[in-house]
């Protein structure tokens, strides 16, 4: 799956926890320096945010009208 913001997308909207967390960490491992990934979820993943901050990743979140949170994460 690709997206205008980045080709690296995890669509975790219909995944049960901890699926979204695991899939995001796995994709982050595959990214090269300077690349970004997009996580799609129907909620804000605060525990994931915390891990991202601890590991030095930047992220930006946007809430779309259909209730999807788009979380753009930098490697």
């Amino acid at each position: 799956m690709s997206h205008a913001k980045t080709p690296h997308v995890v669509d975790a909207r219909y995944m049960e926890p901890p699926g979204p967390f695991v899939a995001t960490m796995e994709m982050l491992d595959t990214l090269k320096e300077g690349e970004k990934m997009l996580l799609l979820l129907f909620r804000e993943p605060h525990p994931l945010y915390k891990v991202l901050r601890q590991n030095g990743h930047d992220y930006e979140t946007e809430l779309l009208p259909d209730g999807t949170f788009e979380i753009l994460i930098s490697r």
């Binding site: 909207r13 901890p18 909620r43 804000e44 525990p47 915390k50 209730g67």
Partner: protein
Amino acid sequence: MLAFENAPPFAAPLRFFLSAPLFAVLAGLLVAFEGPDIFASRWTPGALAATHLITIGFMLQVMLGALIQILPVVAGASLKNPLTVARIVHPGLSAGALLLAAGFMAGMPVLLASAAFVLGLTALFFLAVTARALIGVANTSPTIRGIKLALFGLAGVVGLGVFLALALAGGWSIPLMALADLHAGWGLGGWAGVLLAAMAYTVVPMFQLTPGYPARAGWGFPNFMLVMLVLWSVAVFADWPWLARLGQLGCALAGIAFAGLTLRLQGKRRRARPDATYRYWQLGLIATILALILLATAAVWPAAADLDGWTLIFGALLMAGGFLPFITGMLYKIVPFLSWMHLQNAGQAKVPAPAMNKILPEIGMHRQLLAYTAALALLLAAQFFPALLTRPAGLAFAAANAWLWWNLLGAIRRYHHHRADIEARLTTP
């Protein structure tokens, strides 16, 4: 691998979850003990006592216990000392609910005033620690803003409740019925309703694999509910009954829209097999819509509320039919999930935790759901045939909630058993 090391200790929320069903058992036994007279009106001492055993003893217990647990997950905000907060709030709520119920039953001013004092201080303490945790947290999701607005609802319901209890204790001359209605509005709409919606935005898609709530509805519902309650409050203080009815109608329609939207989202869920949580939510949503149709009807046509049993059926549908099923459905997800999470942590990635359905098997939850649904049906039927059905309804309600308690206790027993097993395996080289 999972960032759970900062989760509050299991003991913090668990005490609330394990004592809440016991208050519902007590409410059921009170109905059985008092018999048909308890439902003569919503103002009988027994009806008032049973209502508050449910709203404070069950609903508020679980809601505050769950908030202590869930704030870091849904809002990224942590209470400073969750276990200490739990150790103060839990006995405060438990003692307060019992004192208030005893105060209604005995008609003793000192008990009512003590209940007001204990519950007022407990709520004030909880509001202070939560406000401290949430100050500076940006409103990046409807869930976060919903929780913040719900805390205003909590302040509203407790403030009015303390005032009413002191007025009853002191024999003050106040417009008791209008204020009691407003107190119920702030409690069920502004606090419980808004908090439920704020949680639903996160947990319904997460646990039931439904689409998300549209952003506009997510932001709009808590705002609209609070505006309606402010209008209703102004109306009571200015003595404008028409505006109070408009506020009630607004609250009812907002609630119906939220429940209808949730039903629609559930219809699009991607989990093939319905579980106990899903069924409890379906029951809760349908009962809530019926209750709020009654409320909307009475707002438009006030004479309806004077019909025999109208208000009691509304209350039974909304609380026993709506909120208790929502909360029980969530307990059936939260307790096994927390057990699994703490076992996962205890295993230190060396010993895996057992699956959640091993901690709380589906069959036990499903049978309890059937018992609860039967109790609810009896409770509603007792409004039409009080002489015949009030006592059986009370006993059935007590039994169904005792079963809930037994199911949760079973999960905790299995949790301790697995934990001991994991610790033994970790120490064995």
